[in-house]
Amino acid sequence: MESVHDFIKKVKDGEIDIVEHTYRLIEECKEINKEHNYLNTISEEQALDSAREIKIQLKQNKDIKNKKLLGVAVSAKDAICVRDVETTAGSKILQNYKPLFDAFVIQRVKEEGGIIIGKTSQDEFGFGGFSVNVGKGFKIPKNPFDSERSCGGSSGGAAGLTQKLSNHIALGESTGGSIVEPASFCGVYGLCPTYGRVSRYGLIDFSNSMDKIGSIGKTIEDAALLMNVISGYDKKDSTSLNVKTDDYEKYLKKPIRGMKIGIIKEAFGQGVEREVEKNVCNGIEELEEEGAKAEEISLELPIKYGIATYYMIATSEASTNLAKFCGMRYGAVEKLEGSFNEYFTKVRSNNFGDEAKRRIILGTFARMAGYRDAFYLKAMKVRTLMINEYKKAFKKFDALISPTASILPPRFEDIEKLTPLQHYMIDIMTVSPNVAGLPHLNVPVGFEKNLPIGMLLIADHLQEGKLIQLGSAVEHGK
């Protein structure tokens, strides 16, 4: 499959008129959006302005040819702030909010000649695994292979658009699996980095100790390229890791002979659809054929207690992070009347969707006097044990493997029947690496019933390179 590298070369060599190309690409986005709803906002004017600027620079300034993303269309999940472009995190409470600044990752993309084409659809504030929990008035994105089915979430629009649109890479965001899970349902590569590797400056937060911005690409090369651009220390994010960045592209096609992979025992068997298991096993076989050594490992805490730990941390943090949305300064407003508590209550009750209200209430409960020790603090302690369990496993293995999702992309009519807890259970494979802040990657491994299946690779902190090495071995083994 053609990666954006070839496209960038053509732009540099003058074989592509970048303005004309961008115009056509925007028209294609509009067409795709008619059926699939991947973009909440298409930033047509800004994109064309950027393309015109690149065209001028190409004639005048030779240095521009060193730009890593020259002319490449990049979409941003709607929770990532883009200057002067409506940024809502999929919520009515932020409708019409046009940030006065760019998020760190957007600055980086622009500095490297990338063209921001729009904001991709998502569950409201990232609260979901199927992109059906969109805010009031927002449209639900559809699976690129079957419009009756979910494209996964919460970075659903990002993954769907990546499958449908060529010469494009997406900025996604994950709190509990929101990059890899939609990537799996849409048949693309999703790379979620170590917590703190990519600055969260300008990301509308959901759960501040777990939110991570990452890349989604049609090829592993694309995902690695964008990760190279966005990773690095940023003093504006106090949780940014001040550690030297790696060159992720150097791991592409690097031999994997002798690498050790641990197959998570609890992630196979009961509860996993047969077709999913079969294809993930094929993926493991491909890695073995390339020389990796696979062995089973039991990880009890992550699979058995991951969901409870994750949801207690995530809802607790979400309930505080969302306290700032109150109809003052920016975002949705109501008529100013009543006391300030009455006003804030009115704004929040009228503009948050159901799942946002549920999670705020769950999190407020978990932090309340009398319950805090049993829920919130308990989850933080279980996180310590979980990190220790993973760290022990990484003494022996370079990466751990499970299916990314235990099921094929479900139909919307089946999702409707799920209770919120059943909905949460879908995240069973992905929440724990997120709780532990570990980098993880979705690798497409096959199709069943014309629907894509993904394999999840998890590595130790700051070992994104190993994921790319293993992921590209599967891609090139095909």
Partner: protein, 94 residues
Amino acid sequence: MEVDRKLLEHVAELARIKLNDDEIKKFLPQLKEALEFFSKLKEIDTDNVKPSFQPVELKNAMREDNEEKCLSQDDSLSLTEHKKDGYFRGPKAI
């Protein structure tokens, strides 16, 4: 722990959310089911385990207390209709 209508309304009030009757009817069994499931964390022995408030070790990030460039007053006020005389307008505080 009894999760009932009274507790739900109290927690919602703390979170500045007013639930209508339909929402209460819908949310109450859903939240009960979720909290019951989350309670299974108590099965795990966490005596003498320190909580991890972050997944990776982080040091406090400090900076010099110097004046820096910030948003202008006009820009700051540009995102809301509730403003007056160069200030944000809010609901009555007293």
